[in-house]
């Protein structure tokens, strides 16, 4: 590696006893090139291009389009905040927000603790831990579309459906699952939990390895049982990870799209219409060319909400996570 830009002379005093200024070589384009700046830039260029074209440009374009009326063929017209106003007054908007919040709540109540419990139990297992981990992680490996097709057969509302057949043996059902306005959303959460729990569980398992075993030994010596050890040692020790996974889950569930899109298309009767699905419907629900202005306006509103929420969350939990 070439070394450049370092002061080469030690600090010395001048003839008159005053400290002499350090001599810093002047940076010129040539020194930048000789120092490897150009090579670094050239190597960086493809990445900058890809990142700019596929990440930043769409974000900027989204922001611009949210103030326009356009069908992407004719010249766009500026409409100010009209798109935001139209979204705000759309009767489907509160329905979508309510459904998204319901999904997030169900996922939080049922989906959040399950990976944690599974990870704690698995960390207690002495034999074949790898096998159990692989089984738990398997749903993450299955492509989501395939998983949804699989679960659609489970959720078949007839008495021949997999779940209904099993439940019939214990005298329950048949249940309508996805064909009911009450059951549809919990059904989506169940599949979503199954599909995603494995990934979170692996994170928890990794975090649990960082907990000092001596703490457990000391707790055992004091007569603590499993639950007390989990409550007083495990949870406090991995609280940083718990906080991060919680915010990631909330952001993820606020953007839920795949399950309602593939399972129900937002139905029955808008019972599973989420904010992301509403954005999709604005953009692509009408074959004559979507309302891209409204779609991008709602996207910005969602992004803005999540940004503010994340900021508040991080501030509110800062002391707890670093204590």
């Amino acid at each position: 590696m070439a070394t450049v830009d370092q002061p080469r002379e030690p600090a010395v005093t001048s003839d008159r006893g005053l400290p002499r200024r350090f001599t810093v070589p002047r940076r010129t384009p040539l020194t930048w090139v000789r120092g490897g700046g150009l090579a670094a830039f050239l190597f960086l260029l493809p990445l900058l291009f890809v990142f700019g074209a596929f990440s930043w440009y769409p974000i900027v374009r989204t922001a611009i389009m949210s103030f326009q009326h356009t069908n992407l063929v004719q010249a766009p017209t500026w409409v100010g905040f009209q798109n935001f106003s139209a979204v705000w007054h759309d009767p489907q908007f509160p329905v979508a927000v309510k459904n998204t919040a319901y999904f997030a709540l169900l996922a939080l109540v049922f989906g959040y603790p399950i990976p944690l419990i599974a990870a704690v139990l698995m960390s207690e297992v002495r034999k074949r831990r790898g096998v159990y981990s692989a089984i738990a992680y398997l749903p993450v490996v299955i492509p989501p579309v395939v998983a949804v097709l699989l679960w659609k057969t489970f959720y078949d509302a007839s008495s021949l459906g997999v779940f209904n057949t099993v439940l019939h043996r214990v005298g329950l059902g048949p249940y309508p699952w996805l064909q009911s306005q009450q059951w549809a959303m919990p059904s989506l959460v169940l599949e979503s939990t199954w599909a995603n729990a494995g990934a979170t569980m692996i994170i928890y398992l990794a975090a649990l390895t960082g907990v000092n075993p001596e703490l457990y030994e000391a707790a055992s010596a004091d007569g603590a049982g499993l639950l007390r050890k989990v409550w007083h040692i495990t949870l406090p020790q991995i609280r940083g990870v718990l906080l991060v996974t919680l915010i990631l889950q909330i952001i993820g569930t606020a953007q839920v799209f795949l399950e309602p899109y593939l399972f129900t298309s937002g139905g029955p009767a808008n019972a599973t219409l989420t904010v992301m699905l509403l954005i999709y419907n604005y953009a692509f629900g009408n074959s004559l060319g979507g309302d891209y202005g409204k779609a991008t306006a709602l996207s910005l509103m969602l992004a803005g909400f999540l940004a503010v929420f994340s900021l508040v969350y991080l501030r509110a939990t800062r002391s707890w996570s670093t204590r």
């Binding site: 090579a39 190597f43 063929v73 509302a157 298309s265 074959s287």
Partner: protein
Amino acid sequence: MKSTRIAMIVAAAVLLGVGASSAAGSTQAGKQVKISVASLIPGSTPAAIKQFNAQVAEFEKKYPTIKVKPVEYQWTAPTFAAKLAAGTLPTVFEVPFTDARTLGDHGQLANLTPYVKKLPYYKKYNKAVLAEGTDAKGQIIALPKGAYAQALHYNRALFKQAGLNPNKPPTTWAEVRTDARIISKKTGRPGYVEMAKDDNTAGWILTTLVYSLGGRMEKGIGTHATATLNNKYTIQALNMLKAMRWTDNSMGSNFDYGWSDINQAFAAGNVGMYISGSDVYTNLVQAYKVNPSRYGVTTIPLAKNKNAGVLGGGTLAAVRPNVKTDQLAAAMKWIDFFYEQPLVSKKQAIRNAKTLVANKQPVGVPALPLFNQQQYNLANKWIKPYINVPINQMKPFLNGIFKQDLIPEPEASTQSVYHALDAVVESVLTNKDTNIVQMLKEANAQAQAAIRQGA
């Protein structure tokens, strides 16, 4: 320092390489014109694909300078909108009657007028059908591929199993309800099912029911039209569905069928009756290998009301607006060859029918005339020896359809009107306590807003 120079050379070479390869990719191959055309829907059988490819080969033989690339294509509202926005539609694609005019007005379809007017059969077109592909400026922006009337398709095997006469399908909605109940009770299969998905199909079928009772979904035209979704006939139709679903329990347990799903379920023998276009038999064969002996089709029952009629629609072939002149000319040749010639040229009609028969594809599926009645009768006469569909089982439809009034789909914001109705149908079928009047009021407001915006 040396390593830095080498790195710079490598980076520059990589960049130059990328540039060079993209330049090579843009090189054009001689004078040959390349176009892509909508072919069959995804999931079509190998026999259907073989038949289509044979037609492409025949076209390329006739026009050696044109190279045709078939692209699987199925019109659905969301996928069409996405492809339209992304500019990834094939050069020649298909759109429903409901969309062509508005797409043309928005500048999203190529102007075909000079080419169409040179066609020798131009004057034979059914004017009402040609108007579906003409924009507000009078430019022809699409040519008809096929026209359909809604029909009631039924499973003859389930009719027999239920002790019903498959040669005497229901002729009133009361009979549909009774037969559905009997089929459901005797066979354990749903007697009557409907498309009820949130993809505009639920609204499409509900509109069919409403038309058959004498109602309409709109009054007036364009952005000045008034939505009339909450008329008494819509309430009547929804109450009928409610009774079949919750009182008779004759509609099974699946209430999110879309167009493809319901065809699949019917072809698998799991549906007693359902409504779809009269030409759906082609898809039942091409995608799901329906057993012809099971298939039956009849007209939609019409109420005794002078306004009652059958919903009719169709498909048009159109060209992307941004193609070069030589591609547009080639695209028109394809439209002429593939869509129109089999209906106007005896030679082409017979050749087409022979190719279809050889590949076990349906010939003689019920469709409505695109040209004048004389031409329609003539074309049917040409292909008569090659008809391989169960034509006797289609007689209840063929004998009745020309006596029914054909009503076009709602003209203003069609897809938005259907979409507003989707949720109402879904709710009636999944919630016993649905407040039909209230939901229709909300749907009407939603549709009216879309009409005003021209969405």
